[in-house]
């Protein structure tokens, strides 16, 4: 260690705070100017901490299961009644679905229409949600040689969750559709009206910029739209509800209790983040 005289050391210590405050402002500027660098730093930190979180995932999962168990025991009776009612309703739907599937198959055969390809997917464990009050994102643990790419669509058992915004070696960051920076092209299933689903950091994203004269109505089902090639069409998103400030969408996906998500590769490359957009080469000048 370098030995410094006492007054010099004290002066250095007193200078440290203002210098670091200035450095914070510097970081703000760098964060605005060089998003690639910051993103690399973020993914590296995520790669570092995700194994730690993944190791804790099992005990945490047990804890959550125990809590759910206790809650389930308390609500056993009402839950049972609800499930019985739902079961009855679903059985009717099941019959209808079978009939419709048969009809669909028959019509496809008549039209010679190819079936929709089943997309390839990776399942990933959600190991941390690190958003805080200003962002809604989650960290996913991945195998080292994964094939997850930026922009992939994440769904849980019930519906759309969000999109992958950063990918590291062992981790990926999932931007939830409720995040204030999330914009997802959607359409109203009933009318086909296109709209944008904008996150607000609240539990329910807002629906805005719909096209056409018909306004989405509360109770309408919202599905993704293939506008701009960012999403496959028809993934279930949520139900329109009347909110305080306008129309909101209650997501089908259980965003509060995400444990696993499926990452689908639909082979779409639409709407890349700004740093990945390749500008067309500038036409050469007169000399070239």
């Amino acid at each position: 260690m370098i030995r410094l005289s006492v007054p010099l050391r004290q002066a250095l210590a007193r200078l440290m705070l203002p210098v670091l405050i200035a450095a914070s402002f510097g970081l703000m500027l760098i964060g605005k100017a060089d998003t690639v660098l910051i993103e690399r730093a973020r993914t590296q930190l995520a790669d570092l901490v995700v194994p730690l979180y993944a190791a804790l995932a099992r005990p945490i999962g047990t804890l959550r299961e125990a809590i759910a168990e206790v809650r389930g025991l308390i609500l056993l009776r009402s839950e049972n009644a609800r499930l019985r009612e739902e079961n009855e309703r679903l059985r009717r739907w099941y019959d209808r679905a079978l009939a419709l599937e048969a009809e669909n198959l028959a019509l496809r055969r008549v039209l010679n229409a190819p079936a929709d390809p089943t997309p390839i997917f990776t399942t990933a464990r959600v190991v941390a949600d690190v958003g805080g009050a200003y962002a809604r994102s989650a960290l996913l643990a991945l195998e080292p040689n994964h094939s997850v790419r930026k922009g992939q669509v994440a769904v849980d058992a019930a519906g759309l969750v969000g999109r992958i915004s950063e990918v590291g070696d062992r981790s990926a960051r999932l931007l939830l559709m409720t995040d204030i920076n999330s914009r997802i092209p959607v359409q109203v299933e009933r009318t086909g009206t296109r709209a944008i689903l904008a996150g607000t950091n609240g539990p329910r994203p807002r629906i805005q910029h719909w096209t056409g004269p018909e306004q989405p109505q509360p109770g309408d089902r919202i599905v993704t739209s293939s506008e701009a090639g960012a999403m496959p069409a028809g993934l279930p998103v949520g139900i329109v509800r009347e909110g305080r400030t306008g129309l909101e969408v209650e997501p089908f996906a259980d965003l509060d209790r995400l444990a696993f998500v499926r990452l689908h590769d639909f082979g779409l490359g639409g709407i890349l983040p700004p740093d990945q957009v390749v500008r067309p080469p500038r036409p050469r000048g007169r000399g070239g």
Binding site: L20, I21, F25, L56, I60, L63, A128, G131, G132
Partner: protein
């Protein structure tokens, strides 16, 4: 580990130094662990700003009672780590935490002698001011109004959880050598 045969020439000195190092780095290590712990997916709390900002409590407590073990560079590092973890615009957490550190340092002589209740009230005041600044900076950096609800909730939870964290910090503090 230390087998009786291959003992270093001055075992007492080495182990004592290692022990000293471990104890000195305890405040920082506890702060980092608490910061990581707030990312654990514990259910619905985290998603609506219902997680406390443990970094505020860490910086406040250690600046107040052991400023030597919470130097500015550590405060800065904690802030950068918090920003990188939450994918927030970089710089806001380091700046606000450093300002908290500086503000507490100026009031340290008065505040450190008070009862726990007053220290807690002090924390509430500091935290509210710092989080208000935090929100303003976020608005300026994003150039759009950020929702106020989750931020207020976060502030409330942070203040409410302080006694619990303080209890933990006092435990750690007692294991350190007296000043």
């Amino acid at each position: 580990m230390a087998s009786p045969v291959a003992r270093p020439p001055r075992p007492r000195g080495f182990w004592a130094r290692l022990d000293r190092l471990a104890r000195d780095s305890a405040p920082g290590a506890v702060a980092v662990l608490l910061l990581l712990a707030t990312g654990l997916p514990l259910g619905s709390v985290a998603h609506h700003g219902g997680m406390p900002l443990t970094t505020l409590a860490s910086v406040y407590f250690w600046t107040l009672y052991r400023p030597g073990l919470m130097p500015p560079w550590l405060v800065f590092g904690l802030g950068v780590m918090a920003d990188l973890l939450s994918a927030a615009p970089l710089g806001v957490n380091p700046l606000t935490l450093l300002l908290l550190h500086g503000a507490v340092l100026t009031q340290r002589r008065v505040l450190a002698r008070q009862s726990f209740l007053l220290v807690w009230v002090g924390f509430a005041l500091f935290a509210t001011a710092i989080l208000a600044l935090h929100w303003t900076l976020r608005v300026l950096l994003a150039l759009s109004l950020q929702p106020l609800g989750p931020a207020l909730l976060e502030c409330g939870v942070t203040i409410a959880v302080y006694p619990l964290l303080s209890w933990l910090f006092v435990r750690v503090e007692r294991s350190l050598e007296p000043v």
